[in-house]
Symmetry: C2
Subunit: 222 residues, 2 copies
DNA sequence: CAGTTACGCTACGAGCCGTAGCGAAAGCCA
DNA sequence: TGGCTTTCGCTACGGCTCGTAGCGTAACTG
């Protein structure tokens, strides 16, 4: 959660103001809302946060790193609600993620930092650690819970299980992002329902034999 | 394909140099390779193309529009190979798209312009018209072909058919982009195969009853 | 030939970047 | 208490990019 790794050498000396940290990250999110990624400048963020511009540069290497940390905090909200079935679990996660992508801060920032990360390996790693892994945990938790319920079979082959989890994760996160940001169409309950039935049906096909229970067509239209 | 809509009022006067157009777009792609999206400047592109900087500003509103046009040309390469079955058609498209995303120009540019488009509605429309629709056509063509083969049932409900096509498109494009750019893991034949079987299995579940032929588990592991 | 539009070139104010240097503040430790 | 260390706010700076204005010239039309 801390911006830098270790405060360099030792303890001793004036400690970094944690209030400044929270003020800066909050100011960054607000600046994203008001200006968007491109027009956001570090000088403006510093003014909003009530700190000196040099303080920003002492803690973050640049705009990308700062924004990653700022939006990463929003991903703490993501949870896996125990809704009783795998289908409703997936729908819940999809709608939560969509709500996050609906906010102007994340909407304008997420794709931008990913674009940056294509030519900046450390940045990619930072995104993976503070954002992507946080989402992926939901997929793993959802599967474990479904296996406890008996909705999904246990997978003794750990390598294959990891491959499948990666696949499912890319499908869910990718589809939601694409629908929300590229197609720019609403990710509502109806879409989540149809998408979930696709994932569940696909899960049956991809994990060898079919799972314990997959509805053929839930209740989209009578 | 032309940068601007109509050359304003009338014909008459010196025509725009089409050679300059191609030189600028090619220079833009090369600059994307060498510098990446962020460090790319219009002044640099103008120098590479051998034209004046003012010429660039006369034709494009800004960096985003120019880059969209530059990478859009690359999407002309996308085709739907008639491979004989829906499964191999999908795998082919996935691998083609992945190859496109593997190129450094598109890798760094695509996410960046989409990020821009979240706060720039005309830009989003430009992207849709020159890039997204070009991809979506492949999905529609693939479905039509599969219906001709008898692999998929005809869909009398055109509204539902459109919804399903949109869903499938977001799933395919989103998953490939997420795998390639966010997870940053290879989109190879093995992944394409597993992903395709997921899509086909999901297609069976989402389009009411099952289609004519869906393999339970192709040949991923013996 | 006159009329119209695109072109290359130069120059400019404006804005942001990222850093250096300073004195003061805020903690630790003897 | 005094010394040591680190962070802080502030100011100032060179360097770069932006986007535009103005000019004379080139190319094509009627």
């Amino acid at each position: 959660m801390q911006s830098r790794s270790t405060p360099s050498t030792r303890a001793g000396g004036r400690p970094r103001s944690t209030e400044a940290d929270t003020a800066i990250l909050e100011a960054t999110r607000q600046a994203l809302v008001d200006l968007g990624w491109t027009k956001l400048t570090l000088g403006d963020v510093a003014t909003r946060a009530g700190v000196a511009k040099t303080t920003l540069y002492r803690r973050w290497a640049g705009k990308s790193e700062l924004v990653v940390d700022a939006v990463a905090e929003l991903f703490d909200e993501l949870e896996l609600p125990d809704s009783g079935s795998l289908a409703t679990d997936i729908e819940g996660v999809v709608l939560q993620f969509a709500a996050l992508l609906g906010r102007p801060e994340t909407k304008t920032a997420l794709m931008a930092v990913v674009a940056e990360s294509t030519t900046d390996e450390p940045l990619r790693e930072r995104i993976r650690a503070s954002i992507v892994d946080r989402q992926k945990r939901l997929v793993l938790a959802g599967r474990a819970r479904a296996q406890d319920r008996g909705e999904l079979p246990a997978e003794p082959d750990t390598a294959a299980a990891a491959r499948t989890a990666d696949l499912i994760f890319d499908v869910i996160a990718g589809a939601v992002v694409h629908r929300a940001l590229v197609s720019a169409e609403p990710v509502d309950a109806e879409w989540a329902e149809q998408f979930t039935s696709l994932v569940l049906g696909g899960l049956a096909a991809v994990s060898g034999r079919g799972p314990a229970a997959v509805p053929s067509a839930p209740d989209t239209a009578p």
